[in-house]
Amino acid sequence: MTRKKSQQSNSNDVKKKGSSGKEEVFYGIPVSPGFVIGKAFKFENDIVPAIPSYDIKQSQVPLEIARFETALIATRKQILDIQKKISEAMGTEHAEIFNAHLLVIEDRVLIEEVIKILEKELKNIEHVFLKVSEKYGEIFSRINDEYLRERASDIKDVTKRVLSNLMGQAQKDLSQLDEEVIVVAHDISPSDTALMHRDNVIGFATDIGGPTSHTAIMARTLDIPAVVGLHDASKQIKSDVTVIIDGNRGTLIVNPSKQTLERYGKEKTRLELYEEELAQLRTLPAQTQDGYCINIAANIEMPEDVPSVMAHGAQGIGLYRTEFFYMNRRDLPTEDEHYEAYFNVAKKIYPNYVIIRTVDLGGDKFLSQLDVPQEMNPYLGWRAIRFCLAQTDFFKVQLRAILRASSLGNIKMMYPMISGIGEVRKANALLEEVKQELSREGISYDPDMEVGAMIEVPSAALTADIIAKEVDFFSVGTNDLIQYSMAVDRVNERIAYLYEPSHPAILRLIKYVVDIAHKENIWVGVCGEMASEPALALMLIGLGIDELSCSSVCIPELKRTIRSVSYSDIRHMADSIFNLTDPREILNKANELIREKVPGFLQL
């Protein structure tokens, strides 16, 4: 990373002598996105206080050792305090790192080395301890592996604390900030960030560090912009100057010029407008002009996706894919791992619902843990529910975890790739077995958890009347339904043009499924990509679909589309498409409605 200092020469920029200097730009590594304009607060905790050095008499050695012990005890107490604070604020996993700090204080090798030098050199304990910690600091700074070098700063954090305690100085910290500031420092230690006044720190800029440093991790956790690796920027910045941290471009701009401020101001206004629009849509229902409501849900892959689901205003999670658990690892996930993830999602999204899809492995998703033979036609092969029903021990782990997590009552579950009623019956029988096991063990679960079947194989669509009697809902997986119905591999460029969601065959299948479901008093959702495209989504609503589930980012646009049209228009359009023969004509019909009624989409 090279550092360039650029100065914006600007004739219009009238400088007030002494108070505000020229604009200066420092280049570092962007580690947490977004930008912020504010007042710099120079945090100088990295400067080691001047440590005195003086000779002591042999007889004073025990006294110096006693001082050392007192400092270690004080340090221990401070670390335990920080650990407790972090644990409460961010969860025990973040607090775990302080176990390492505690071990440093208890490190016999370190303590013996300090005492040995103390006895040999007869110098005051601060001096001896500084010398020893500098020796280790030197060793750590030579570590080649960036991540391990960063982590060594944890050790430095502790030795610094011990030194402060030996000197009887309280360490400076960031807990007493009474206004919003951007913290500029050579480095910010884990305990500094832990004690920091969270509401008043709006950005970080540090001289050292990389994407994996604790400052970076903390900034992302707090969702504030941060730039690290700014070399010696902190030396050249005074507290109270205006700075901009651009966590997208990796710059720190000191004394921004009028032009720069205007540029960032405009960007800010644009973002705010967009966010305002999003925010408005977030709380509004997906209701048509004439009062018809449709349920809009989101698709997710892991618990970390839930905040985005809520930020984009989904009313639930219509598809929680569970394959992620099995990826990139050699062992199988445990029941508790499954449980924790599911419960976590259910708790976060409560009182809204989440539909967990039992694992859909095979096809394009390999399972490295199990010895699954290579197949000629993986999409038509041993996958999803077929695989699970053959490996019942494996499947039951997931079923148990889902049931255990269902105690809040907002979890629903569905089976992927159902081709006929036989699979539903087998899977339901296994589910029943697991429920009885749990009851025997006295573990609570939701006995009325809704169970659905995915409709993505044409044979399931065509026997929807049979399947509907044994499930609580359907979820149409349009990606696979289209692929299987049209016999087209959409990844194959030569035939991808055949993949047409608006093909009459697909619309007829969906209409059949919806009509049957409603006759049997169960509801139907769509969780494929079809649900995320406004024109196709309107078509689905016209066919009677009760719920659309798509990726979070598509939701605002979808809501906006739905809120601009009337249900009678949608029905009218949906009725008319069955008279048409060409998929493109059908799609045009839906697009016409959008062009006519929906004023310009959100520019995403």
């Binding site: 790192i97 390492a100 071990l103 490190d107 016999r108 370190l110 592996d145 391990l148 990139n328």
Partner: protein, 91 residues
């Protein structure tokens, strides 16, 4: 009479022995009475010292030798090897 037991291990967790795994290793080593040391190339450190372990800078793929001498040497080696094979509880 206690014998010396040694075993070679390879670091399998992606991030190597940073502070958290080091803490786990040191905590585990401290549960045993035996003298335990960890060697990487020519360096030898006390397995019960976190600073020592951190100075090894054992990253992904590093080969380490663990040596234990004492009444519970065998158990100590077994436990420490297990911890490394479990990738210190990381992915």
């Amino acid at each position: 009479m206690s014998k010396i037991i040694e075993k070679e291990i390879v670091i399998k967790n992606k991030l190597g022995i940073h502070a958290r795994p080091a803490a786990l290793l040191v905590q585990l080593a401290n549960k045993f009475k035996s003298e335990i040391c960890v060697c990487k190339d020519s360096e030898v450190v006390n397995a019960k010292s976190i600073i020592g372990i951190m100075t090894l800078a054992a990253n992904y793929g590093s080969r380490l030798k663990i040596k234990a001498e004492g009444p519970d040497a065998e158990d100590a080696i077994k436990a420490l090897v297990q911890l490394c094979n479990d990738k210190f509880g990381e992915k």
